[in-house]
Amino acid sequence: MSDARQIAIDVRDAVKRYGDFTALKRISLSIYDNEFFTLLGPSGCGKTTLLRMIAGFEDVTEGAIYLYGKEIEDLPPNRRPVNTVFQNYALFPHMSVLENVMFPLEMMGKKGDAKRRAREVLELVQLTQFANRKPSQLSGGQQQRVALARALAPQPKVLLLDEPLSALDQKLRKAMQIELKHIQRETGITFIFVTHDQEEALTMSDRIAVMSAGELQQLGKPTEIYEHPRNMFVADFIGETNLLEVSVDSFEAGRAVCHLGGGHEMHVDAVDGVGIGSKVHLSVRPERLYLTDVRADPDALPATVLENIFVGTNIMTIVDLKDGPNFTIRAANSDRGNARVFDAGSAVYVNGDKGAARLLVD
């Protein structure tokens, strides 16, 4: 991301305390203009708190939040050019869809233009024919669109989305993910999206901030976060992984020789902060491993197949390294490629791509 881009939201050393409990421990991050930015983490990690601080529903205990360079702490929510799509949508039940969408425009004093603009936004979310319905007469997905339309109607500088898809079923959810992404591109509004679903975050975001226990764990593009998790939490939280405890015996040609136990060794790219004798964790993505029945690669590890688990698109194979750890290997359920399925009990070799394994500092 080039630094020349304008910063939409700048969070500087923000701390949030509730009495003795610290929900946010000094977070700093910048969100660029026109970006689809995701706050990702398990429940209670502080992501919603941060979102509500940006919206103006929580005050900032320490630090500051800037919106296009302007400090917004003293602005009440109704004076911030930032809108929220609430998790439960919070559609006003006594108003029609159109009235809901017109509401912010009326509150801003744009009465004359309200209806035209409201219809325009309803068209964007393809709900024009439901304008006169009450929210209760709509399906969950339609309510979701109304909430989106209502928040977009006043053309906010930043749109905040608090787990907006969590109430939808799997299929609808996938469709909405793509549509949200489209709408974001079309309108050019900065989206800040909160979710606990890592797959959703990876699918939609330009950049992701992974949070845990009130702290920022890693910030980066989806591929960076997936391929180069900075620590154990991120590696474990994003995608599936084989997390192994290893000790580093020596270095060979810039690669660390990791001892897995039972005499098994793996050569992994060295990382700063890891020296000889360190006990560290190793993350190996299961889709980056494959099995063979002959030792093609001298680094391949001998193992025995424990079981195969069929999960539709994939087949997961669990293997046991003699006197060492277990590995999970994922292969596409496809006739193409060289992936083979071995019966339980077969003797096999575990092979990995070059960058399959990563050392984690903490």
Binding site: N78, R79, N88, P104
Partner: protein, 268 residues
């Protein structure tokens, strides 16, 4: 499910329930029935007639009943309206005002009229008006009624407000409404069933009160219950049964409206 497999059902409970309803309704139904008795004696049934209803409006005591009814209804209307406004404000502070010191105390004060026995409230109010040298009459009745109507209006209103999610006002504020606008356009319309229900209950409670009114009314002014009580002291007369039936009807109708209004869920 048969009786044998159902662990919930106890034989005989249905009979007791029916007995319970009979006990609750029999006296009311009997008085209603006898209010249509043509006879001047309350003991003998002489056939159906609306004679005593006509008597209430045109008979020798009609002037007394008319003024008592005027007092009762005007006091009930004013007391219920005032109490409802006060209760709506209080409920907003209690339910939408966050946690604060004195919240439990405030709730205690609001429900004080429910906890203190009515006769004690009656005595205390009488003594209070006496101590500050206030002449008893219409105003003292109204003031006392406003006070004891507040908790009856408060309970349905606050119950309703607790059922309305806080995100509605937050969404409104997020969408550029001030707090006052969020209250006016979002919270108030959503609370309306609770407010109507609270008003109706306060109205009935005021209309029905005898004990407190009897203490604070002073001489020369009557409400319907005090007038009825005065008459009954000399024995139950048929016109009293007619007027009681009408009052009973008003209560039942208003409670029924209140029930259906509060059932109406406008948050869906």
């Amino acid at each position: 499910m048969t009786a044998k497999t159902d662990v919930r059902n106890y034989p005989g409970f249905i009979a007791i329930t029916i007995l319970c309803l009979v006990i609750l309704y029999a006296p009311l139904l009997v008085v209603t029935a006898y209010s249509f008795n043509a006879s001047a004696s309350i003991t003998i049934w002489e056939g159906l007639s609306v004679r005593w209803y006509i008597d209430v409006f045109t008979g020798p005591e009609s002037a007394k009943f008319k003024s008592a009814a005027m007092n009762s209804f005007s006091i009930a209307l004013m007391a219920a309206t005032t109490a409802t406004i006060i209760a709506t404000c209080a409920a907003t502070a209690m339910v939408r005002g966050g946690k604060f010191r004195g919240r439990t105390l405030s709730f205690g004060l609001i429900s004080l009229p429910l906890m203190v026995p009515e006769i004690v409230t009656a005595v205390a109010t009488l003594i209070f008006f006496n101590a500050i040298g206030f002449t008893r009459g219409y105003t003292t009745i109204l003031a006392a009624h406003i006070a004891f109507c507040i908790p009856f209006a408060y309970l349905p209103i606050s119950a309703r407000m607790q059922g309305i999610e806080g995100t509605y006002e937050q969404a409104a504020q997020d969408l550029y409404a001030t707090r006052a606008q969020a209250f006016r356009y979002i919270l108030l319309p959503l609370m309306m069933p609770g407010i109507i229900s609270g008003f109706l209950l306060a109205f009935i409670i005021s209309l029905d009160d005898f004990i407190i009114t009897n203490f604070v009314k002073g001489a020369g002014i009557e409400t319907l219950p005090t007038a009825i009580f005065g008459s009954v002291k000399q024995g139950i007369k048929p016109n009293i049964m007619a007027i009681s039936t009408m009052l009973l009807g008003v209560s039942v109708v208003m409670v029924t409206i209140s029930y259906f209004v509060s059932k109406k869920d406008n948050t869906q």
